[in-house]
Amino acid sequence: MNGYAAGANYEEARGAESPADFVHKVRIALKEVRETRYWLKLTVRAGLVNSPHGIAPLIDEADQLVAILTASANTARRRADPSA
């Protein structure tokens, strides 16, 4: 995991070779964002930063990106396989 793998994985998803590949890679990006959000929350909880207010917007942004990527993956999955 790292803080910037999510963006890299999303870029890979945008160049996906098929809708299934797109869904797979968006889900990987989603997992990366979730993991980043976890570590950010941990830094706040463990008191490793002097001003937690600086991290709060990042956690909020990660929350929103989790929701966006989840919706994106679900929509793409439905379009790729309507029977699913």
Binding site: Y4, A6, G7, G15, N50, L65, R79
Partner: protein
Amino acid sequence: MSSTGRTKGMNDERRAQRATSNSNANARHGTPTRFKGDDIAERLLELAAGVVRLLPSLTKQPGATSLVKQLEPEWTESSLLDAVHGGPRARARQSPRAVNAVGPREGTRSRSDRCTLGSFERREAHSEIRNLTPPRCAGLPLSLLLPKTAAGEGPETKVLDATP
């Protein structure tokens, strides 16, 4: 190919067509071409930038080293060895033109010498780098991470001095 099997080539072709058709309009209005997913990519990039900006303050905190490794694991042993020996990651990041423009650093081996490093030297470099934490490695010039030279002198001593 099935109806759901859009290829990457087709995707890129469509983007290229849209970019071409929009180029005249953009020239008139001065607006950059936006594609589907650009906004999400931009936000992910901004999140990553926020994490990167956060790292320096975390490295000052005692006990946060493992956390920094999780947030930024790029400075691992293998990537450092790649950087020193011109491994696949380093080659991928640095184009031949860039290498030629910078030229060889003082005290470093030439590209052909790097390719002929023996297994003993590689092990030695590996053990040196293992003793350094990632943030400390990031601050050191690359030449300090090179293995000992044949004459027994070289950057190894400096690396050990830098380690508390």
